[in-house]
């Protein structure tokens, strides 16, 4: 918990995956792609790519976003 707070304060992205159906990304740099099969999020130096079925953007704010749906893959692209 302490580490997460420190990372958040330092501007490092924090990704919280709850089961297979919920991802919260804090300190993101913007949404890159949003389709029911794929959601891509800019994390600064890397791109976070979520793949799955019936993906949906539940919440999008300047500091965080939440994606719901059935997530089958999570990968980082340099």
């Amino acid at each position: 918990m302490r580490d997460a707070v420190l990372e958040s304060a330092a501007g490092v992205s924090v990704i919280t995956l709850t089961g297979r159906g919920h991802v919260r990304v804090e300190n993101h740099r913007g949404l890159v792609r949003c389709t029911p099969e794929e959601v891509a999020v800019n994390l600064g130096r890397v791109l976070l790519r979520l793949r799955g079925r019936a993906l949906a953007l539940i919440d999008l704010a300047e500091a965080e976003l939440v994606v719901g749906g059935e997530i089958t893959a999570l990968e980082f692209m340099e």
Binding site: G30, L31, V32, R33, C34, T35, P36, A56, L57, I58, D59, L60, A61, E62, L65
Partner: protein, 391 residues
């Protein structure tokens, strides 16, 4: 749509652009919150508040990055906006909402639960004397004070709690159990047999037993005598009970003639206003069925308005006859109830019924062999096996 969203109002927008993600990022930077996002071929559709919808429309105009079109507007603000030219209707709606809200602060229904022997009417009367009645402000109900007052006014209660939920008061009570008989211990009384029987078990806690297991005793005979102190103990015996019940087989039967009248009315608090009457007043004896239904909101709040319906059904008493089997079934049930009352904690080992008809009256006799407690204090009167209905 939830109540919150309905009260706030919602706007469904379609954002058309080549890169909807950019539009969403821009919206997020502007602090726009949305929900129910759906990706379409032309862009995205989303639902947001009226304020955020205006911000999105301004953003689209300012940046030119995307176009925004309103698909639908829902909720109270738009409903009121649509009614702006119909002032009387809007005023009526606003007044209704105001009255609806205000009515939630008053009690319109009082219910009592948990009473078995104390009549509900007595409890409602006690509540009224404590100041709880329909039309009272919910803030004026002193729940602890009313609970204590209720216990003070109705001694048969051992516990009471008053709950207020919306405009409904429900009172939960528990009735007091009668206090057990106190043994004074100073009089050296004896225990005597309450009825004839053959002793199957004897336990002496204080005093001296005059009989043993297997002995036959007659009602009134001393079983345990006190020796300087009060006699205490238990004596079980095998006993025989003979009970008889009777019922006339001919009776007056209620038969509906088909004559019926109905009255409908409205309920406003304690006031009943009758608004329609259908049919004619039947001349004979009538059954009156009264039904009152108060309007209840989905959350359980009861409103002081409702519907009243009264139905009169004309009935005539015509000579009839109770079927033999039906009468026998009723009398058997009565006999078993009487026997159970007599036995208390005792048990029935064997029971035999016999039925006969005489002068259009059905008699049913129960002969039961039982095992029960027969010892009782000498001060009490003995009672004998009854056979007041001659066979």
């Amino acid at each position: 749509m939830g109540l919150y969203f309905w009260l706030r109002g919602e706007v469904r927008l379609a954002l058309r652009c080549r890169w909807p993600e950019r539009a969403l990022n821009l919206a997020a930077r502007e602090g726009v919150r949305f929900r129910a996002l759906a990706v379409t071929e032309e862009g995205v559709e989303l639902t947001t508040s009226p304020r955020d919808a205006r911000a999105l429309l301004r953003l689209a105009e300012r940046t030119g990055l995307f176009s925004a079109a309103v698909l639908a507007r829902r909720g109270l603000p738009f409903l009121l906006w649509g009614l702006r030219r119909r002032r009387a209707l809007a005023a009526g709606l606003a007044l209704s909402l105001l009255l609806l809200t205000l009515s939630n602060f008053y009690i319109w229904q009082i219910e009592v639960y948990g009473n078995e022997t104390v009549p509900t009417a007595e409890l409602l009367s006690a509540l009224r004397e404590e100041g709880v009645h329909t039309g009272l402000s919910v803030f004026a109900v002193d729940r602890v004070g009313v609970s204590l007052g209720l216990l003070r006014r109705v001694p048969a209660l051992s516990w009471a709690t008053v709950n207020v939920r919306g405009s409904r008061v429900w009172v939960l009570v528990r009735e007091a159990k009668p206090a057990p008989e106190m043994l004074t211990g100073d009089a050296p009384a004896a225990l005597i047999a309450a009825r004839d029987g053959t002793i199957t078990g004897i336990t002496v806690l204080s005093g001296r037993a005059l009989f043993r297991r297997g002995d036959s005793v007659r009602a009134g005979e001393t079983l345990i005598e006190g020796t300087g102190e009060r006699a205490l103990g238990s004596v079980t015996a095998r006993t025989r009970h003979t009970l008889t019940e009777a019922m006339p087989l001919s009776c007056a039967e209620k038969r509906y003639t088909g004559g019926e009248a109905r009255e409908t009315g409205l309920i406003f608090g304690d006031v009943r206003v009758k608004i329609s009457f259908m049919g004619s007043n039947p001349p004979g004896v009538c059954d009156k069925i009264r039904e009152e239904r108060l309007l209840t909101l989905p959350g359980g709040s009861v409103l002081p308005v409702g519907l009243l319906r009264e139905t009169w059904r004309e009935a005539l008493g015509v000579p009839g006859r109770v079927p033999f089997e039906e009468a026998e079934r009723i009398l058997r049930a009565r006999l078993l109830a009487r026997l159970a009352e007599r036995l208390g904690a005792g048990s029935v080992e064997r029971e035999t019924f016999s039925a006969w008809e005489k002068d259009d009256v059905l008699y049913v006799r129960l002969e039961a062999d039982c095992v029960e407690e027969i010892a009782k204090a000498k001060e009490e009167n003995t009672y004998e096996n009854e056979a007041h209905y001659a066979g």
